[in-house]
């Protein structure tokens, strides 16, 4: 039987990193995710698997360490929270441009600015629209439980290497700090240097004898060459959109109304659905698991089935609702409900919003 543990989301993420066979974690402490590096340092993963853990001098250094390490074909990872993730945007843009894989976890806290350290979902735009400069996207996975904080780590690395791209895991202080039952997956082996060379011929880890050396760069001074690189990236993003959408539908079969919510909000909204159904309101939940690519088709299907309204429930001032509206295209009602700044909405508040904005509105 798989190992069962009671763990914080942050700890599950860290343990999953070791078990995924990650080669290096480079991070900088920030609340509410410092447990990730604390757990890793305490676990001595170098003794368990040979994994390196290094506390960098800043988030800027962390992300550039990922650039270096990911560029050599190693599995590298960092985690941070909103202000730190903002600092990493330049590095992520470079990695998108140079097509360097890595996994970054953002345990989101309230903003803007220094904000607070309470759970929030206000980094949605930054996560799904690229975040840094230039035309790019990052696949974004949104765990909604401690179990998924563990399970999504290997999934994220698969995507990162399949598409040679940084992948974001976006969670928040609620899922990072809470403990739940986790079924830990078996230890996966780290790739050997020979396996890395075989699988990733693009990796810059010393040019093979008799072969051309490799260069990783995002610089193309000739605009036509840069456009060509952009064409290549855009083709990759279309492939990801076609093949990697992931979502969950809960109680949608007979639903007249749909709550769209991810991560913590989706958990809270599940309680709302119970409360609503007890009152005879037929509401279901669409939970995007990938925030980018966004699950457009399932929303479209629900519109075609005659759903009377969508409520986008977010711990933000209304960010994901824009993607819901882009998909629904005025065919039916789309409204937003959210609390901001680290305030967690209650299931009852969400029910009230559903009644006033969608059902009775």
């Amino acid at each position: 039987m798989a190992e069962l543990r009671l763990m914080k989301g942050n700890e599950a993420l860290a343990e999953a990193a070791i078990r995924t066979g990650v080669d290096g974690y480079f991070g900088y402490p920030i609340t509410p995710q410092s447990e990730v590096i604390e757990y890793l340092m305490a676990e001595k993963p170098f003794e368990r698997t040979g994994m390196i853990v290094l506390q960098a001098e800043s988030e800027v250094a962390s992300i550039n360490m990922l650039y270096g390490g990911g560029g050599t074909g190693k599995k590298v990872m960092t985690s941070s929270s909103s202000p730190g993730i903002s600092l990493m945007q330049e590095g992520l843009s470079y990695m998108a441009g140079a097509e360097i894989p890595c996994v970054v976890a953002n345990i989101v806290r309230g903003g803007p600015g220094l904000g607070d350290i309470q759970p929030a979902q206000s980094d949605y735009f930054q996560a799904v629209k690229g975040g840094g400069h230039g035309d790019y996207h990052l696949p974004v996975l949104a765990p909604a439980s401690v179990q998924e904080m563990s399970d999504f780590v290997p999934v994220a690395f698969d995507l990162a290497f399949k598409y040679r791209t940084p992948v974001l895991i976006i969670s928040d202080g609620l899922i990072g700090q809470m403990m739940e039952k986790v079924e830990l997956f078996e230890q996966m082996p780290r790739l050997t240097d020979e396996e890395i060379n075989e699988r990733y011929p693009w990796a810059t880890n010393g040019k093979p004898a008799g072969e051309e050396r490799r260069i990783l760069t995002s610089l193309y001074l000739d605009p036509h060459k840069l456009e060509k690189n952009n064409f290549k990236l855009q083709e990759k993003y279309r492939n990801i959109e076609a093949d990697e959408v992931n979502y969950e539908l809960i109680d949608c079969d007979d639903a007249e109304y749909i709550i769209v919510a991810y991560g913590s909000s989706s958990r809270i909204s599940q309680k709302t659905i119970k409360l609503a159904r007890a009152e005879g309101i037929k509401v279901g939940l669409l939970r995007p698991i990938t925030l980018w690519p966004f699950p457009k088709n399932p929303i479209d299907d629900l519109v075609k089935k005659g759903v009377k309204g969508f409520l986008s429930v977010e711990m933000s001032a209304g960010q994901m609702v824009e993607d819901v509206r882009l998909t629904v295209r005025e065919r039916t009602k789309v409204e937003h409900f959210g609390r901001y700044g680290g305030v967690i909405h209650s299931p009852e508040e969400v029910l009230e919003a559903l009644k006033t904005k969608i059902v009775g509105g």
Partner: protein
């Protein structure tokens, strides 16, 4: 079965670890559990609280505004959570240091002299286990044997020698809980 609990008191009273042991006990009997602490500035001023949910089903919201049971260990928490107990629910408190006792008529209220019993047992650190015993006497949602198994899982091996003492504390708590209304 779903039991939604808030445990609230001062930091250092073992609020978070009591919740953790309870959650582990739930895992030991194959239930779903969640444990969500107040963290950061919410904890300033020395208060600590944790929401624990134990259920036979997948747990939806890990944060709540209404609870089946509130375990209250200081006045600030009483002020904050007395009204959050669902009608028909349970409030258990340690009267030590409480100046305004709970007054609700639509819930069941119990006292547990946790601090006193722990002091009498010669170890104030087992205070939280006495309170846990009181709670389990009122709501036996997890079996004592599973609590012991949970303790073993959540405590580092070097503390396993303390498990019999914890068990005694739970038993003492079970004996010392008193219904108020």
């Amino acid at each position: 079965m779903t039991e939604e609990i808030i445990i609230a008191g001062f930091g250092g009273q073992g609020v978070l670890s009591m919740g953790k042991i309870l959650a582990y006990s739930g895992i030991m009997q194959d239930q779903e559990v969640s444990w969500f602490p107040a963290y950061g500035p919410e904890m300033r001023g020395g208060t600590a609280n944790v929401t624990v949910i134990i259920s036979d089903e997948r747990i939806s919201s890990p944060t709540l505004t209404a609870y089946d049971t509130a375990i209250i260990l200081n006045q600030q928490s009483m002020d904050k959570f007395e009204n959050s107990v669902k009608p028909g629910g349970v409030l258990i408190y340690d009267p030590n240091g409480i100046s305004k006792h709970p007054t609700r008529q639509d819930i069941k209220i119990y006292k547990i002299e946790g601090a006193k019993v722990a002091t009498e047992m010669g170890n104030t650190k087992i205070f939280n286990m006495v309170v846990l015993g009181g709670y389990l006497s009122v709501k036996p949602i997890v079996k004592l044997e599973n609590v012991i198994r949970g303790l073993k899982k959540s405590l580092h091996e070097r503390y396993h020698k303390l498990i019999p003492l914890n068990e005694d504390a739970i038993t003492m708590g079970m004996k010392n809980v008193v219904e108020v209304n």
